[in-house]
Structure formats: structure tokens, C-alpha cells
């Protein structure tokens, strides 16, 4: 088994066994939906508002997982064990990013039907929106793993991670919201601008994955 697969399998096994991240993310997201529902005092959303609600909820739920991403590595000596092995740091970066994408996709599988049920009159845009969310997940995962690795040894980790991540996530949010606005438009999804926004998302994903591969070994060093 390759180190990438070993680290990813370890993280998923620990999550399945302890349920430390996913249930908390799902509960947080559902609570946020309820708050939006009553806070906006609307039974139906569309366009940019609908896209904003789903994306803001996913982003803040992702923060919960990102904060916990390296806790076991730090508290249980995983960093030392991995750094003493002949393993490229990028294997750790890729495995953590893949784990985060899997968590987010699992969250969205629960979230999207709930979102449709609570806020949408027309569910036709939900399936293509899922594709946009996956592209956004990749960007969030790449930046999230970088930021989490920077913040993990800080006592102010809970503050540092959101402070660093949220500005970096702005381009993801803009592009995903742009695509989501068209897909959740009143009267049914429109695909006019979706390609443009998806291209921006893909470019962002590519840039941050490349940055992660370039700098991750240095982040892990003392």
C-alpha cells in the first residue's frame, strides 16, 4: 500500500470509528440552515441568495474539519512517525486533502436534499450544483490542508485557521457562488455563465494544489 493510501485509509478509519468530524459538521450545517430559514424569514430562495446560503454553510462546516485535520498527528506523534519514514511530504498533503474532500462530499450528500427541502421550489439545479460544490471542495481542501498545517502547532489554532483560510477562500466562494446563482435561478437553472465560473474554480484548484505540492515538505520541517 502506498503512503498516500495508507494515510488516507488511516484517517477514514479513525473518522468512521470515532465520528469526530462528520456528525459535528452535519449538525452545524443543519442548524445553520434553520437559522437562515428563520433569519431570512423566507420559505423559498433562489439565485445568488440561495447560492450564498449553501456555500457559506459548507465553508463554515468545513472549518470544523480543517481545524481537526492534524490534531491526531500533533497529539499522538503522527507527525514524527511520518517524518521519520521515507515518505514525501506531498503524500501527507494529498492524503489529508483527499480525506477533507471525502468529508465534504459526504456532508453535501446530506446537505443538498435538506437544502432543497427547506429552501427550493425547483430542485432541477441541485444535481449540477453538486458538481460545482465538488470543484469548490477541492479548492477548500487544498487551502484548508495548507492552513491547518501552518496552524496546528499554534495555541491560537482555533482563531488562526479561520483568519488565514477565510480570505484565501474568497475566490472559491465568488466563483462557486457565480455558478450557483445561475443554477439556482428562479424559473430553473441557466447554464450561460456556469462554464466560465467553473473554469475559474478549476484554475484556483490547480494553483493551490500546485502550491501545496511545492511547499508542503517545508511546512512539515522543524
Amino acid at each position: 500500500m502506498s503512503p498516500f493510501r495508507a494515510i488516507l485509509a488511516k484517517d477514514l478509519r479513525v473518522e468512521l470509528r470515532t465520528l469526530q468530524s462528520l456528525p459535528g459538521m452535519a449538525l452545524f450545517a443543519m442548524t445553520t440552515f434553520v437559522l437562515f430559514r428563520f433569519g431570512l424569514d423566507r420559505t423559498s430562495l433562489s439565485g445568488s441568495l440561495a447560492a450564498g446560503v449553501i456555500l457559506a454553510t459548507v465553508l463554515f462546516a468545513a472549518l470544523l474539519a480543517i481545524n481537526r485535520l492534524f490534531v491526531a498527528e500533533r497529539d499522538e506523534g503522527g507527525f514524527d512517525a511520518i517524518r521519520m519514514a521515507p515518505v514525501d511530504g506531498t503524500a501527507l498533503f494529498a492524503a489529508k486533502a483527499a480525506a477533507l474532500v471525502i468529508y465534504l462530499v459526504a456532508l453535501e450528500l446530506v446537505l443538498l436534499p435538506a437544502f432543497g427541502f427547506l429552501f427550493l421550489d425547483d430542485w432541477a439545479g441541485l444535481a449540477p450544483l453538486a458538481g460545482v460544490l465538488v470543484a469548490a471542495d477541492v479548492g477548500l481542501a487544498a487551502t484548508g490542508v495548507l492552513v491547518s498545517a501552518i496552524g496546528v502547532n499554534s495555541r491560537a489554532r482555533d482563531l488562526l485557521v479561520p483568519l488565514l483560510l477565510l480570505p484565501l477562500a474568497v475566490p472559491v466562494m465568488i466563483a462557486a457562488a457565480g455558478a450557483g446563482e445561475s443554477l439556482l435561478a428562479a424559473g430553473g437553472p441557466s447554464y450561460d455563465d456556469v462554464g466560465k465560473w467553473l473554469a475559474i474554480l478549476a484554475l484556483y484548484d490547480l494553483v493551490f494544489v500546485a502550491i501545496g505540492y511545492a511547499v508542503y515538505d517545508f511546512l512539515l520541517e522543524d
Binding site: 500500500m1 502506498s2 503512503p3 493510501r5 495508507a6 488511516k10 478509519r13 479513525v14 470509528r17 470515532t18 491526531a72 499522538e76 506523534g77 503522527g78 514524527d80 512517525a81 511520518i82 517524518r83 521519520m84 519514514a85 521515507p86 515518505v87 520541517e221 522543524d222
Partner: protein, 249 residues
């Protein structure tokens, strides 16, 4: 024992000729204003055992973490298994085993899962056979399926010994490896981490007579991380070694 650093020039020259497993000169490691190691030099030939002695706060664990490629020295030069650190750390990794204060086990994985994970990182061939054999050798075969969080400190230390030697390292860094082991467990671990293992070892221990007994060379640090003795273990008496344990960190 002299107060000053004892370095034997002729002995050094001979060791250099036989390509030492570890060579360090003028190692300094600072944590902010705190100097943990202050100009430590040492040399250890392949297959030898070095006892690292000194009081709490003398920088013993810091030295071991530098040798394990986990910490960078602030100043000085160090090579491990022929690799200059930190520049060639990647070449040394995978050839070093560490038993430290922390067992380096994920608490929510079982003992066997932890070892399988390490085996994958080190690309150990036929991992299941190796893991079974190691667990049996330390008397943990019936605990293979137990979560690491449920192990006693002694059991976790046995598992940590298995983890450290799983990939058959050329250099073993042992930071108080028997601290949680009862006499029977220590005896079981002996073939894996004792002299019988037949590998180069760096051993930190507060049992000064025993450490001197089972080592070829000794390194004595004082409470400020300065070198008080470096040379053959037989030339350092337990009484002289204990003299360095005075002072406040």
C-alpha cells in the same frame, strides 16, 4: 573525569577512518532564549552503543530528536548514517528507529493497525508476517486487535518497540526505552532493542551504571546542555557521571 570536554584526537582519527554512524561537531540547539544543547560533539562507529547521560533538561531528548531528523540544529554539523543533516535527512529517514517518551501510536487504531500503517509508510515487505512475529516476541499477540488507547503504559511501550524496529533500522534511538516496562517485558524487548539487536544504538537512560555497562561510548551533558564527557564508557565511572547531575536547569 575532567571538568572540560574530553575529546581524544587520536581516537577521533581512527573512528573517522571507519566511517562513523554518527558524527556531530559543535551542535547547538536553541529554543528562543533557552540553549538546550551547547556545542556538543560526538562520534559513534557503526554497531556501537552510545549512552547519553545527564540530568533533566540537559538536552538529551533534543539531541536524539536532532539525530532522528526531527529537529534542526541551530548551529553545528551533524551526519547520521553518512547523511548530512538536515540537507540529506531524506536519505537517512527510514533507516532510523525511535523509541521515545511518546509511543507514536494512534490511540483510535488497534495495535495491529498502527503497525500496518507504519509498515506501509516504510514499505515493509510481507508486513503481516513481520507484525505477527514482532507482536509475539514482546508478548502482545493477544492484544493485536486492541485499540492503542486501551493499552497500559507498559503495553503501549511494547507496541512502540515493535513500531520502532518494524522496518529493521540501522540506527536505534532509545530515549528511556524501558521506562514503562516491567522486568519480564524488558527482557522480552531485549533482543529487539538491546545489544543483541546488533545495530548502532543511542541510549538515553537515568540508570547510569546499567547504561555504562551496556554501552561502548558515553556522552555526559550537564544541566546547561554542555558536554562534560565524551569517550569510552569504561573510562567513565558512575560516580563521576552522577557529579554532572547537580545544578538547576
Amino acid at each position: 573525569m575532567a571538568d572540560a570536554v574530553i575529546v581524544q584526537p587520536r581516537e577521533r582519527a581512527e573512528a573517522t577512518a571507519s566511517a562513523p554512524a554518527i558524527r556531530a561537531s559543535g551542535l547547538v540547539r536553541e529554543y528562543g532564549d533557552l540553549v538546550a544543547l551547547d556545542g556538543v560533539s560526538l562520534e559513534l562507529a557503526a554497531g556501537e552503543t552510545l549512552a547519553v547521560l545527564g540530568p533533566n533538561g540537559a538536552g538529551k531528548t533534543t539531541l536524539v530528536r536532532i539525530l532522528a531528523t526531527l529537529l534542526r540544529p541551530t548551529a553545528g554539523a551533524v551526519s547520521v548514517l553518512g547523511c548530512e543533516l538536515p540537507r540529506q535527512a531524506w536519505r537517512a529517514r527510514g533507516r532510523i528507529g525511535l523509541v521515545g517518551h511518546d509511543p507514536l501510536l494512534y490511540r483510535d487504531l488497534t495495535v495491529a493497525e498502527n503497525l500496518r500503517f507504519c509498515a506501509a509508510l516504510h514499505r515493509v515487505e510481507e508486513p503481516e508476517t513481520r507484525i505477527e512475529r514482532l507482536l509475539a516476541s514482546v508478548g502482545l499477540e493477544r492484544r493485536a486487535g486492541e485499540l492503542a488507547r486501551n493499552l497500559s503504559a507498559g503495553m503501549a511501550q511494547r507496541a512502540a518497540v515493535c513500531r520502532a524496529v518494524l522496518h529493521e533500522p540501522e540506527l536505534l534511538l532509545l530515549d528511556e526505552p524501558r521506562s514503562h516496562l516491567d522486568p519480564e517485558a524488558a527482557a522480552l524487548a531485549e533482543p529487539l532493542i538491546g545489544r543483541e539487536a546488533g545495530v548502532t544504538r543511542v541510549l538515553i537512560s537515568h540508570d547510569v551504571p546499567a547504561a555504562l555497562e551496556e554501552s561502548d561510548r558515553a556522552l555526559l551533558l550537564d544541566v546547561r546542555g554542555r558536554l562534560r564527557y565524551e569517550g569510552p564508557s569504561r573510562d567513565l565511572s558512575p560516580g563521576d557521571a552522577r557529579a554532572a547531575y547537580g545544578g538547576r536547569p
